[in-house]
Symmetry: C2
Subunit: 227 residues, 2 copies
């Protein structure tokens, strides 16, 4: 029997990357999940990532500690306030303070390093352009450009950065994830969870997530501090 | 007086990046030097980087710890042997075991993150294609592709990755560095230094360096364990 080809799958512990991992498994890859501790306020994400990785049957799950807070520049890695209760117009406009400079570039670079060691020719990342909330490093043009750089900068001259969620709405991601058996009760999305890990329900990420479940007439199985 | 524009300069502690820093200072930039502790065997590099940064008058020097050894795949970050006394033909052929997967991609990604926080529109990296010893992530096409990705993935839509050493030989780098007042006695290049920090004189990096000084009729001012 031919062994399954390997893929490196970026896994944050949120619902997008969990669905992305489910899709990479469905596509037949032996999945090596990669998460980062990057000084984020929501470290509860990493516990969620470990639960999701185990539930979906990855070959291996690695958590790499990196210090994005060393440079500052983001509400997610500093003591400054995460914006709450923003309107649709506000969420859809400009680059928010929760943007972490070059985060996806750094994440993809580490994924690339691991892929080269594993001789994995595929890297999955769960970005999506429809709900991307203003982050330039989630745009399709960026992903394509990074793939071009990665092919030139490594032995992996046919590396593919796979973005299966790119054109899905959050509601569509939930539908796909449920069909793949992803337990969204395990996932964590909130930018500013409480001490027990409960989601705030009011940051941009929570608002987008709760609205998507509501659109489907479903209740979000993850714990919230206030609804 | 208009303040000098900022640049992030990758600084390894070797002679190439020291000369690159000298050139970025000469070009009028306020330089923010960035070094990495990445599980390399030659941590003496980082002491060299700090000496060089101070001598050349940077605004700030940061050392970010990253764990490239987590993925394995390189003689530089593992217990395996660094090749010694290789012939010119061997040095010039293929990707050597001292290649660290995706290293420059990761370094440039961190530089990009810091540049975005600083609003620096220039990043310097001291790669050179002539003596590049088989590393794919030193090639001009890779640098150009990374710049394209960086412009798309950040607010820095006019970011320039500057590679002033790209077409210089090691001997030409020494000439330029000396003219800029770089003290090469402070720099460290060796892949496998002794416990006191003395260079081995026999790895690829030492051979290329020693030959360049010899071509110029100069003595390398850095300490060597054996000559």
């Amino acid at each position: 029997m031919v062994p399954a080809p390997r893929a490196v799958v970026l896994l944050s512990g949120g619902m997008d990357s969990a669905t992305c991992l489910g899709l990479s498994r469905e596509a037949g890859f032996a999945c090596h999940a990669l998460s980062f501790g990057y000084g984020q306020r929501h470290a509860v994400e990493l516990e969620a990532a470990s639960r999701v990785a185990e539930a979906l049957g990855v070959v291996e799950h690695r958590i790499v500690q990196i210090d994005l807070a060393a440079f500052g520049g983001s509400a997610l890695t500093s003591g400054s306030d995460v914006p709450k209760n923003r309107s649709d117009a506000e969420i859809g406009t400009g680059i928010p303070t929760t943007y972490v400079p070059a985060r996806n570039t750094i994440f993809l670079s580490y994924a690339l390093a691991w892929a080269e060691v594993l001789d994995a020719h595929d890297v999955y990342i769960g970005v999506n352009a429809l709900d991307f909330s203003g982050y330039p490093d989630c745009r399709p043009a960026f992903i394509a450009a990074f793939q071009a750089a990665a092919r030139l900068g490594t032995r992996l001259t046919d590396l593919t950065i796979r973005v299966p969620l790119l054109h899905l709405t959050k509601a569509e991601i939930i539908v796909r994830g449920r069909a793949l058996g992803v337990d969204f009760g395990m996932t964590r999305t909130c930018y500013d969870p409480g001490p027990e890990g409960a989601a705030c329900g009011r940051c941009d990420a929570c608002q987008l997530r709760l609205r998507a479940f509501a659109q489907l007439g479903l209740s979000d199985p993850a714990p919230y501090a206030e609804r």
